[in-house]
Symmetry: C2
């Protein structure tokens, strides 16, 4: 069963390369053994660097279920999620992920997944894209407002 | 100048909590000293767990420039980017990031940023959301198709 869903992600990925709509990646999201969302990578055709297959499938599944949480759902993806997609998987609270290729296969095809994983463990200011903290006296005001808000919707 | 843009992100974040449209986060993207995109977090109001302020601002900036790369642009964000947003920053190829709060401030307000950073360094199969590799003989077909494609658009 896992293989069947992973084969679907590979077909999505191959078809996507053929059609020229984006990178060689596909993902499907399954709930109760049914595919509820599927997408290939759409970065170049939608001019959106966040339009990875997993992100697109997560957005579609949330729309389908009308819920920003995907508990009870499993993600199948043609390749190990990059850090962006890994983060999205946690925020969406999926149950589990199955993948076919890994970050090193992606690196061999000149994709940055493995490079970004390596960058994460550098000090923010030493990364190839430097991330610099500036200390401001009121920096925590948004969190204070959040903590005090009675009718907030946690996510 | 950096402080001015960061103050804008804090105002976006506080206003967002007040309006109830999402979490306590704001981001702006600046090119040639001009703000070209700005957003607060929209997870709950758009039912999209990927709708963090940084992701929304990146999408808007790409739309504005009609380019999936944001070289020459700087991201200002009210809080250190989570792993999802960090990944998006790399894929968008931004020049630099400035942030006010950090992942520990976010954790104190019960957000998972720091937790997700910790999860990344676990073996995939040992994460709280297990990520399991299944070996398939044709797993690399999408990458092979990509490598052979003459008119591909790299990103």
């Amino acid at each position: 069963m896992h293989e069947t869903f992973l084969q679907q992600t590979l077909q999505l990925a191959v078809d996507n390369v053929d059609s020229g709509k984006g990178g060689p990646y596909g993902a499907v999201i399954v709930k109760d053994n049914q595919v509820i969302a599927a997408s290939a990578n759409k970065v170049t055709s939608t001019i959106d660097p966040t339009a990875h297959a997993e992100i697109m499938a997560i957005r579609a599944a949330c729309k389908h279920l009308n819920d920003f949480r995907l508990a009870g759902c499993v993600l199948y993806t043609s390749c190990e999620p990059c850090p962006m997609c890994l983060g999205a998987i946690y925020w969406a609270r999926l149950d589990k992920v199955y993948y076919a290729c890994n970050r090193f296969d992606a690196a061999a095809a000149k994709f940055d997944d493995s490079f970004i994983y390596d960058e994460i463990n550098l000090l923010p200011q030493l990364r190839s894209i430097p991330m610099l903290n500036i200390s401001l006296p009121n920096a925590r005001e948004p969190f204070e407002a959040w903590n005090q808000k009675i009718d907030k919707i946690p996510y």
